[in-house]
Amino acid sequence: MSKIKKITGMRLFLPIFCMILVMAVNILYDVASGNFALNFFTISVRNGVLYGRLIDILNRGSEIAILAIGMTLVVSASAGTDISVGSVMSLAASFCCMLLAGYGVSSTNDLAVPLLVGVLGGVLLACVCGAFNGFLVAYLNVQPMVATLILYSAARAIGLLLCNNLIVYVREDSFKMIGGYLGFIPTPIVIAAVCILIVAVILKKTALGLYIQSVGINKKASRIAGLNSSRIIFLCYVVCGLVAGIAGIVASSRISSADSNNIGLNYELDAILSVALGGNSLGGGKFNLAGSIIGAYTIQAITTTLYALGVSSDVAPVYKAIIVIIIVTIQAPPFKAYMKKRSAKKALAKGGAAA
C-alpha cells in the first residue's frame, strides 16, 4: 500500500501514467485487430533507417518537445503563455530559406549562402522575436497573452514579406538532412535530445531553475532577495524564441520549403498543452521540464495512435480533444481530492469489516 502511495505521489507519476495509457490503447488495438501485441514498440530497420511507431512518435514529436522547453520556462517565470511560438517558427523557417535561396528565388537546388548562415539567421531572428515578447512582458508589464498576440498575428506575414510572397523551396541535401536522417536515426530526434540535454544541464549546473521558479512564485519577494525579476522573465522569453526558431527550421527542412501559412500552425497550443499535461501549473512557479517533455510526446502519441487507428485527419482533433479532457481531468486537483477521499472511505470500510 505504502509503495503504491510512494509511486503515485511522485511528481512525474501522472504524465507517465497518461503516456502509458496511450500506449495501452495501442496494444489493445493491435490485439483486437489480430496484429502482434507489441507492434507499437517494435523498432525495425528499413531502407537503412529506423522504422516503427515509437520512432515515428519521437520523430514527429520533436518540434513540440523543443517548443515545450521554452514554453515551460515562460509559463513558470511569467505565469503566462507565449502564443507566438507557432508563428515565430514559420518566420524563422521563412528567413532561413530566404537566406539559403536568395531573395525572390522560389526554388533552388544550390545554397546561396553556407547552410550554417541560413540556420543561424533563422534562429537569431526567432531570438529577436523572443526578445521583443520578453521586453513587452518583463519591462512594460504587458500581459503575456496580449504581448505575444502581436507576433502571433504578425510573424507569419513578416515571413511572407521576406519570401516575396512565395513558398520558397530549398531542395538541397544538407538542408534536407535537418529534418531527415542522421545515419539511421531521424535527425529531429537528435536535435530535440540535444536541446533537452543542454537545457537540463543548464538547469542542473546553474541557479537558473531556482531563479525562474522564485520569480514565478513571488516576483516582489524575489526582487527584495536580490534577483533581477524582469531580466529573468526576459531571458525566458528569449529562450522560448530560440527554441521556436530551432523547431521552425526542423519543420521547414522536413518539407524542404518555407510554407509560411502552414509551418508551426497551431503548434503554440500543443506546446502549452504539453506544459499542462506535464503536470505544471499554468499559474507559474514550480516547473518540471521532464513532465513537459513527456507531455509533448504524449500529444504526438495520441495523434499517431489516432492515425494508426484509421481515424481521418479531419476528425482526429475531436478524439484528441476527448483524450485531452480525460487526461487533464485526471490531473485536476478536485479529481485527485475526490479519489483520495474515495480510497480513504474504502480503507475505512475495509477496516470496519475487518474489525
Binding site: 546553474t206 513571488n218 526582487r223 527584495i224 536580490g226 533581477n228
Partner: protein, 506 residues
C-alpha cells in the same frame, strides 16, 4: 434613540478567516458632528465602514439609522445610499471623462417624459448644487479639467445631494495639498451646519484636531473608546491607538548610549526621498549601532528603509556606504554593498511560498553569488541545517515548503536568508510581528549580538518597548517625513511625545 443621534452601531463583530477583524465594536454618530475614526492600519476602521456600507457582511451586532425603524442591514453601497449613508473614498470614484453634471447625476439622471435624459434640468440642478457649496465651476466641463481637490468635493457634493444623513470620508485628504485641505474642511463645516453627520477617517493627526468634534479609537478590531476632542490630547490619542496607557507606563531607561566616531559611519543618507512615500531625509548609521525607526503605521518608517535599500529607488539625495558614494538601482546593488532587508509584509515580499525552507534560506546568498555559481547542494544543506538549528526553526524537514510553516517560523527562515549573506547592515522591518514572546526575546538578543559584532542595524517595530530595549538611537517619522531623532533619554514617554508631535505638552 436620542433625538440627536443619526447612526448607532452596536456590538459589530466580523471575522476574516483566522482573524477577528471587529470584535463587538460600538459607534455612535450625532447630527451635525464631525467624528474622527482613528486607529492604526489594521485596527478595523475600514472594516467597520465596509460593514456599514454593505461591502462586508457582519456576523453580529446591530445598526440603527435615524428615521428607519428596526435594525438596518445593507447589502450594497447602493442599499446604503438609499438609507442616507454616502461614502467618499480616498481615490475619487468618479468618471474623469464625463462632465461634472453627468458625474453628479450618474445613475439617477433626471428623465424627460419620453424616458430620455433631461440634459437641461440636469445642468440646471448641477449648477444649483455647486452654487450651494460655494464652488465656482462650469458643470458642463469634464471632471478631469478640475483639480483633485475639486473632484473630491464634487464627489462629496454628489454624496450630499443624495439626501445623505451620514457622510463617510475615507482618507479624503491623502492626495490633497494644504490649500485644498482647507477648502475641503470648509465644505465639511458647511455640511455640519446643515446637520449632516460626518465620519472622518484619516491618518493625519493635525487634521483631526483642526476639524473634528469627537474621536472614536479602534485597536486590533476592538473599541478603545469614544472621546470628545477636548478630552483627548494628541499624546493620549497616540497612546490609545498604540495600546499603551500613557500614565501607567514605567519609563524604561536604556543603557548608556555608546559613543560613535565619524570613522564608524556605515550608512550616510543625505536628502534621500521617494515621491509619494517619504520626503527627503538625512540619516547616519554607525557600525554597531541599532537605529530604531518609530512612528505610527503608515508614517513612512518602512518607506524610509526601503529607499536606503533600493527597494524603492530614491529620486533625490545621495547615499554613502562606508564613506563611498553608492549608486543603488535595485536591491541586488544594496546587497552587494553588504545590506539586507527583512520586509514587513512577509507574505507579499518575504517568503517564496512554493519553495522549500532550504531554497528560501539560500536564495539571497545565491542571488549575491550570481547565476553561474550555483551553491553546491552540500553547502546548501549545511547552511539550511545550521540556521534551522541556530534559530530553532520548527519545520518537518529542510525540504518542507515554507508556506506550510507557521508565520513565526516563516519569519525566522527569512531572517536566516539574510544572516546567510553575512550583511554589514541589516534592516529589520517588524521582525517580531506575529511571533511568540519567547522568540521575540531571542530575536532582540540576536539584534544586540549582531550590533556587538559591528554590524549596523535599522530596527522597525510597532512595539516601543522592544525598540527601547534594542535601539541606541531613534528616528521619528510622521506623515511620510522624518521629523527628528532621539539619542538621549530614550523613554517611552519621550518617544510617544515625539510621535504625537506638536501640542504634545497639553
Amino acid at each position: 434613540m436620542d433625538n440627536n443621534v443619526v447612526l448607532t452601531m452596536r456590538g459589530i463583530t466580523m471575522t476574516f478567516p483566522g482573524v477577528k477583524a471587529l470584535d463587538g465594536v460600538d459607534f455612535t454618530l450625532r447630527k451635525g458632528e464631525i467624528h474622527a475614526l482613528m486607529g492604526e492600519n489594521g485596527a478595523g476602521k475600514s472594516t467597520l465602514i465596509k460593514c456599514l456600507t454593505g461591502i462586508n457582511a457582519f456576523e453580529a451586532g446591530e445598526i440603527h439609522v435615524d428615521g428607519i425603524d428596526g435594525p438596518v442591514v445593507n447589502h450594497s453601497t447602493l442599499d446604503a445610499q438609499k438609507k442616507g449613508i454616502s461614502t467618499v473614498y480616498q481615490e475619487v470614484n468618479l468618471c474623469p471623462n464625463l462632465s461634472v453634471a453627468e458625474n453628479l447625476f450618474i445613475g439617477r439622471e433626471p428623465k424627460t417624459k419620453f424616458g430620455t435624459i433631461d440634459w437641461k434640468s440636469m445642468v440646471k440642478k448641477s449648477e444649483q448644487i455647486v452654487k450651494d457649496l460655494d464652488m465656482n465651476i462650469d458643470v458642463t466641463q469634464n471632471l478631469e479639467e478640475y483639480s483633485l481637490a475639486l473632484q473630491q468635493m464634487i464627489a462629496i457634493a454628489r454624496a450630499v445631494d443624495m439626501d445623505c444623513k451620514v457622510l463617510i470620508l475615507d482618507e479624503p485628504t491623502s492626495s490633497l495639498d494644504d490649500h485644498e485641505v482647507e477648502k475641503l474642511f470648509k465644505l465639511m463645516n458647511q455640511l455640519k451646519a446643515k446637520g449632516v453627520g460626518i465620519i472622518f477617517v484619516t491618518h493625519f493627526l493635525e487634521q483631526v484636531y483642526a476639524v473634528c468634534d469627537r474621536i472614536t479609537v479602534l485597536r486590533n478590531g476592538q473599541l478603545v473608546g469614544e472621546y470628545p476632542i477636548a478630552d483627548l490630547p494628541r499624546v493620549k490619542l497616540v497612546a490609545a491607538m498604540m495600546g499603551k496607557d500613557f500614565d501607567d507606563l514605567a519609563a524604561i531607561k536604556s543603557d548608556e548610549s555608546p559613543v560613535f566616531t565619524d570613522d564608524d559611519i556605515l550608512i550616510d543618507a543625505q536628502g534621500m526621498s521617494h515621491k509619494g512615500t517619504i520626503k527627503p531625509f538625512d540619516l547616519q548609521i554607525h557600525k554597531g549601532e541599532v537605529v530604531g525607526l518609530t512612528g505610527l503605521l503608515g508614517s513612512g518608517r518602512s518607506e524610509l528603509a526601503r529607499v536606503i535599500y533600493g527597494a524603492d529607488k530614491n529620486q533625490t539625495g545621495t547615499l554613502k556606504v562606508k564613506g563611498k558614494e553608492a549608486k543603488i538601482n535595485a536591491p541586488i546593488d544594496a546587497m552587494n554593498l553588504g545590506m539586507g532587508l527583512l520586509p514587513d509584509d512577509r507574505k507579499a515580499e518575504g517568503i517564496i511560498g512554493d519553495l522549500s525552507v532550504r531554497e528560501n534560506i539560500i536564495l539571497a546568498l545565491q542571488a549575491k553569488r550570481g547565476i553561474f555559481k550555483l551553491l553546491p547542494m552540500k553547502e546548501q544543506i549545511e547552511l539550511a541545517d545550521k540556521y534551522i538549528e541556530m534559530l530553532q526553526i520548527k519545520t518537518a524537514s529542510r525540504e518542507t515548503l515554507i508556506k506550510q510553516l507557521s508565520g513565526g517560523n516563516q519569519q525566522k527562515v527569512i531572517l536566516a536568508r539574510w544572516l546567510a549573506t553575512d550583511p554589514d547592515f541589516l534592516i529589520l522591518d517588524e521582525p517580531t510581528r506575529g511571533i511568540d514572546v519567547g522568540t521575540k526575546t531571542e530575536i532582540q538578543k540576536l539584534v544586540l549580538k549582531l550590533a556587538k559584532e559591528g554590524k549596523g542595524l535599522i530596527f522597525i517595530s510597532s512595539e516601543i518597548e522592544e525598540m527601547l530595549r534594542t535601539c541606541t538611537k531613534m528616528a521619528v517619522l510622521r506623515d511620510g517625513q522624518k521629523v527628528g531623532e532621539i539619542t538621549e533619554s530614550l523613554t517611552q514617554e519621550s518617544v510617544m511625545k515625539a510621535i504625537a508631535g506638536g501640542g504634545a505638552d497639553e
